[in-house]
């Protein structure tokens, strides 16, 4: 319990609501990561930097044309989709069969590059979008919900739903799944697996971009902003099981709740440490995560 606070029902509900709202954002970030991993067993260590790039692209469009995040959102998501596809063709395609370590260092190299590029272009200062259209807060019987937070979570949940339907209900989605299950068999069935990989990277980057764009309505933009989100996404993906999209949703929400409640009951300084400890506890008991299929 943080000193000086009293634990009322309102505070607990408020905390749970905030945790849930954050959890949906984590879930979408993790889903993008998980999709890429499920396809080709590569962990994208530049995932947080993709998010950072999406936030700066919103910021750049605001500076250049005064566009509100709500307006620039589709452009930025498409831009990140293209960046994901380009990452596949420029980098990932060459290291598909390389050992895990090479894949780790390659994506880390990309992360360091993107992060320092952002610092070079925009300085390390914290930036924010002044007066976005989405603002204000709702008062629901004493529970306050920020409108930007609500919109962000709703947007992420919506994107998650679209992703889920795309993967499970469309032919392309089925082709993605087939590629994830057996690359050779899929290519024998006439699926162009290289394209599927590129598509996976595009979608993965677009997912994290949706989260990033939504966050710009109320979050600071700085070169290292993606770091903690990516770290949480790694935990969420490992918790949910690498490659499991639904697992990522559960894990993301679980992490959001644990983070909020842990910060309330213990000490906000340790809220991430609690999540990490939870990860360790779960994988030690279940070494393949909660929903792992690998």
């Amino acid at each position: 319990m943080a000193p000086g606070a009293t634990l009322t029902t309102e505070i607990v509900i408020q905390t749970i609501v905030s945790g849930l709202l954050m959890g949906f954002i984590y879930a979408l970030v993790a889903a993008g990561l998980s999709l890429i991993f499920g396809l080709m067993e590569i962990v994208n260590f530049a995932h947080g930097e993709f998010m950072m790039v999406s936030m700066y692209s919103v910021f750049g469009l605001y500076l250049a044309f005064g566009l509100d995040p709500l307006v620039s959102a589709p452009l930025c998501v498409m831009f990140l989709f293209a960046l994901g596809v380009a990452t596949h063709y420029g980098i990932i395609r060459h290291i598909l069969n390389a050992p895990m370590l090479v894949q780790i260092t390659a994506t880390f190299g990309l992360a360091i590059f993107l992060r320092s590029l952002a610092q070079f272009l925009w300085t390390p200062d914290y930036q924010s979008i002044p007066d976005p259209i989405v603002s204000g807060r709702l008062d629901l019987a004493g529970i306050f919900i920020g409108v930007p937070q609500l919109v962000a979570s709703a947007g992420c949940l919506l994107a998650f739903g679209v992703l889920y339907l795309f993967i499970n209900r469309t032919e392309t989605g089925m082709a993605l799944q087939a590629t994830a299950q057996d690359r050779e068999a899929a290519s024998l069935m006439g699926i162009r697996t290289d394209r599927m990989y590129a598509l996976g990277w595009g979608i993965g980057a677009a997912c994290v971009a949706v989260a990033g764009v939504m966050l710009t309505n109320y979050y600071y933009i700085f070169p290292e902003v993606g770091f903690i989100f990516a770290l949480i996404a790694y935990v969420a993906v490992a918790l949910g099981g690498f490659g499991s999209i639904v697992g990522a949703l559960f894990a993301g929400v679980l992490i959001g709740l644990v983070e909020a409640l842990g910060g309330l009951l213990l000490d906000p300084a340790y809220k991430y440490a609690i999540i990490f400890a939870m990860y360790l506890a779960i994988v030690i008991v279940r070494p393949k995560g909660l929903f792992g299929r690998f």
């Binding site: 060459h94 069969n97 370590l101 880390f108 190299g109 590029l117 070079f120 935990v235 990490f276 360790l280």
Partner: protein, 349 residues
Amino acid sequence: MAQAPHAPPAGEPRAELERARAEPVRTPLSAKQWVWLALAGVALIAWPHVFDAPYQRHVLVMVFIYALMAQGWNVLAGYCGQISLGQAVYFGIGAYSAGFLYANYHISPWLGMLVGVGISVLVALAIGLPTFRLRGHYFAIATLVIGEIGHTLMLNWEFVGGATGVWIPIDRDSPWYSFQFHDNKLPNYYIGLGFLTAACLVVVWLERSKAGLYFRAIRDEPDAARSLGVDVTRYKLVAIMISAAFTAVAGAQFAQYVLVIDPETVFPLLLSILVVLMTMLGGIGTLWGPIIGAGVLFPLSEATRVWLGGTGGAEDLMIYGALILLISVFWPGGLLALLRRLFVRSGDA
């Protein structure tokens, strides 16, 4: 495995890596190699007298510290195949043990270093025992989050200074007791060289010993190793203990060299990643890889910083990141494999 492990297709990244790892085992050095080794030794001893500007010596001292840490990672990941992304924990423990005990209790950092090694080895055991069951990415991410937990704990642990860290008091009167050398950097240079040499001798012994063979068996074919009766967990624990000990020594030396330590400098994730990158750059799973990697990467990052100016624009990191990316994609065997390909004809080796 459909592919024969001995004949991977040329040009494939895996083949590069295999080639880089194909260190000769138990082959005595040829006369030519002894000469080269002796020359290198003389050059390293003479180096700080030829290039005697404080800055030139400083770069080498830092290279030795990073190379020692990278060698520690190399033992665990390169030889035993356990990819740790949390080496900063052991570095930080070494640094804090030496610095904190000296600053607060006036205990000689040499003793503090031993304490740091002891604590690091115990922490490594505590980390290894539960997490060695995890495979691949699960293990890597477990070590990553352990590193971040350590970072958070140190930031909030007021007893050891919290976010402010430890300021090690300056002592000019008894340099050998206080492990601080203010006249010139020569003692730091030779101590760093000495520790690194000792670590390399341990690795040479590993390469030629049964334990080293078991390490590589665990790395390449863990299931086969287990089924052939290798006590996999035990040898992984040996590897992580050696790794932690090297890293803690590097940390203690670092603390006594820079004299100010805080969680941001000795516990950050970037440090854990840096040693991985250095070893990968030089050549993973080889004796010289970490040394070459540290010897290239640290001066390079210094040079780009000097060159492009400390504008805060992070140009040096940009080059650094791009370099890591290019090397991973195009020469995953590292510089050592590249050098070997350039200078050693296949019939000659």
